[in-house]
Amino acid sequence: MTTTLILVVGAIVVLCAVYISWRAGRLDRLHIRLELARESLDAALVRRTAVSLELAASRLLDPATSLVLAAAAHEARTAGPEEREHAESDLSRTLRAVVDQERFGDRLADTAAGSDLLEELGAAVAKVLYSRRFYNNAVGVTRAAQRRWLARTLRLAGHTEYPGFFEIDDAPPKALAAE
């Protein structure tokens, strides 16, 4: 009789342990996915800033447009974590104002360097859009997992921060819009 009880209790304990470790493993995988998404978002933002600065310094634009673009890109590059979303949104708005000037594309397409830069800018802008969406998806899933009763009680997330969404205006210039 006692042997059966011990066996049953033992089986339950084992099952619980397996379940908890499976949940912990899932959370861990989610954290890794989140981190990768964050890195790719960072890379996309840095890339967009770099292309903007290159375009501003290219002498293909009039000096006023150059200055507007360089100022916004510079703000985005040097913004601290607190101001980052704001600065990146400003860069999006500036890019729209710059690229959606009448015949802007035709102008740049006149030179090889210009069409290359425009192509690069289009890619960079689109990748910001994509990587931000993927990152925010990862945040959503991770947050839901961290919020679960088991994860909270057993502190399965350890010291990992509760992740925040990255909210910016990243609407691309009309001339570069992919979707």
Binding site: L53, A56, A57, R59, D62, P63, A64, T65, S66, L67, V68, A70, A71, A72, A73, H74, E75, T78, H86, S89, D90, R93, T94, R96, A97, V98, D100, Q101, E102, R103, F104, R107, E167, I168, D169, P173, K174
Partner: protein, 398 residues
């Protein structure tokens, strides 16, 4: 002289630079010069005959706020055509380090170019990136004017070299006459004009002094004009005195003139930072009896106290004592008023415009202003209108 003036900001939106250009232009025309101004403007904005529109300005984030600027090849082409057709002896650009028409004008033109720097933009860190582009345009400037010491200082730090200091003028005649505001013609009135929530304007000092004075002078009232939170102001005053305070808020140009003519004593309690007392020169033009804090800028404008009384900066007791003296002495007030009207003449636009004209004459050359052929690639193909941009106006905040 044929003079072309370039305004970087939308003409039909009120602002210091626009007002400066309007007054300068009118003063120069008064002297018989031919002046043409190019400025961004809304499609249907009513423009004076001397203004040429460069199309609409686009709202874009710049230096921490959303500014309406005119940039791009299309704007550049409009400026280019205006330069070509204007055949100016001198080109006068304003704020050429702001990415708008001023900078574009430096880019598309060459010859005698005078530039006026209004603001201090020393913290614009982005300039290093486009420094080469910006510099090649700005290096064409032959004569530089700063409107204040602060503007001159940042200019020197940013570009090196020096500038001539020619302060803003005041159109004295515009303030000379005015009916007192209704309901304010009785008793004694002390007036203040300026931002109420800007500590450097020193309103709290005046409020403190008013409380001291009000106890002994039952007929004394305080007239405050300018933007700011009324509740915040009233908080500093005992409730019993609230009905002796008049809060006008933002006032129209016309009401501002009337306010100057309403007050018995006009008080400028600034704590510092005022590079040039534009409010003070307006009050002087109106012939108000002035009581101002003893900051260097005010002391200078008021001829060491000849054209207006001075009190110890930031000291409410000193303000109250001087104000009481003035209110009790109508003869002294009349003298101050007369002195003020005389002293302000040297800040009148006619005088200031003459100084600006001397700068023009210094840089002028027989060839005059020409189109810069180096950048002339797109000349002439600017027939299209500026279509509405993807940046809607309501899109300024997230």
């Amino acid at each position: 002289m044929r003079i072309g003036i370039v305004c970087p900001y939308t003409w039909d939106v009120p602002g210091g630079v626009q007002v400066h250009i309007r007054d300068l232009t009118e003063a120069l025309m008064e002297e018989g010069h031919h002046v043409s101004v190019i400025a961004p403007a809304a499609d249907n904005a009513p423009l004076p005959p001397y203004v040429t529109s460069a199309g609409r300005a686009v709202p874009v984030p710049f230096n921490g706020s959303v500014a309406r600027l005119s940039f791009g090849f299309l704007s550049a082409n409009r400026v280019r055509r205006w330069v070509r057709e204007g055949a100016f002896d001198v080109l006068h650009v304003h704020e050429p380090a702001i990415p708008s028409l001023g900078l574009l004008a430096c880019w598309v033109a060459r010859g005698p170019i005078v530039a006026t720097f209004h603001a201090s933009y020393g913290n614009s860190r982005s300039l290093s990136v486009t420094a080469s582009v910006l510099m090649s345009a700005l290096e064409k400037i032959t004569g530089r004017i700063a409107v204040s010491d602060a503007a001159r200082k940042t200019l020197v730090e940013f570009m090196g070299g020096d500038a001539v200091l020619i302060p803003n003028g005041v159109t004295v005649g515009r303030y000379a006459e005015g009916e007192p505001l209704p309901g304010w013609d009785q008793g004694e009135v002390i007036g203040f004009l300026g931002r109420m929530d800007e500590p450097r304007k020193g309103l709290p000092v005046l409020l403190e002094a008013f409380v001291l004075l009000a106890a002994e002078r039952p007929a004394l009232r305080l007239l405050l004009a300018g933007p700011g939170d009324a509740a915040e102001v009233l908080e500093r005053i005992p409730a019993a005195l609230h009905d002796r305070i008049g809060l006008l808020g933002m006032v129209s140009e016309e009401d501002k003139v009337r306010a100057y003519h309403t007050v018995d004593v006009f008080c400028a309690p600034n704590l510092g930072g005022e590079s040039f007392g534009i409010v003070l020169t307006e009050a002087m033009s109106a012939g108000a009896a002035i009581l101002a804090s003893d900051i260097p800028a005010f002391r200078k404008v008021l001829d060491d106290g000849q054209a207006g009384a001075l009190f110890e900066t930031g000291n409410a007791t000193s303000l109250a004592r001087r104000a009481a003296e003035l209110l009790d002495d109508p003869v002294r007030r009349a003298t101050l008023s007369q002195e003020a009207r005389a002293a302000v003449q040297k800040y009148d636009w006619s005088t200031v415009a003459r100084d600006v004209l001397r700068v023009y004459e210094t840089v002028a050359s027989p060839a005059g202003v020409e189109e810069d052929a180096e950048d002339a690639e797109g000349a002439g193909n600017d027939e299209g209108t500026v279509a509405s941009r993807s940046l809607a106006e309501g899109n300024d905040t997230l």
